[in-house]
Point group: C2
Chain length 121, copies 2
């Protein structure tokens, strides 16, 4: 995803329907980290905007305060990481079983007795 810094604060605020000052507060609390231009103007990327929308949902819709938002975002990150880890582990384990199958099939061919042919499926 193209995620370059794009929107200055008034545009970003407009996009998510928030007060520009609110965005500055969020940054001061470390909830979003927009880039800055050489002239120190904030520039929000698309993922910054997405994060703002997420924060908005947590505050206005669910009523969390900013401390809660911070904690929830961290936990959701951790949850997402764990989910990926779970998927990866499932895949790796499946591959491990497959490797064992392949290895033994090779050995069976090597050691096969002519009088006891191995049934092929």
């Amino acid at each position: 995803m193209d995620d370059r810094p794009r929107y200055m604060i008034s545009v970003a605020a407009e996009l998510v329907g928030m007060h520009p000052q609110t965005l500055r507060i969020y940054e001061s609390k470390g909830l979003v980290r927009p880039r800055r231009t050489a002239g120190n103007t904030r520039l929000y990327s698309d993922s910054d905007v997405a994060r703002l929308r997420l924060i908005q949902r947590l505050t206005t819709e669910l009523g969390l305060n900013l401390a809660g938002v911070e904690r929830v975002l961290a936990l959701e990150d951790e949850l997402a990481r764990m989910h990926r880890r779970l998927d990866r582990m499932e895949r790796e384990m499946r591959e491990a079983v497959e490797r064992v199958h392949r290895q033994y099939r090779r050995e069976l061919v090597l050691y096969e007795s002519p009088r006891h042919p191995i049934p092929r499926k």
Copy 2:
């Protein structure tokens, strides 16, 4: 763990260092669910008290509001469940590999050629 309802509200509040009224508020928001006696008196179990301590850490130490506490508790539950699931999956997959090994070892014994003994470790 023995988790019978034990402490009435003044005792539970004393145990965790909170105002009894605060405990009533928490219940009204569904954060804890103490049992009641026939006379409608709240009785808090040890796990209720533990939960109160957890809530206390989130509110006083981290500064969450109650909406945040509710959300965080839910996420931590989910995280714990996922962790158990991960452990279980790891074990099951390990057993699956082991099953494949055992199965092929049996077949190798059956089909083994006298002139090509299978090396044992």
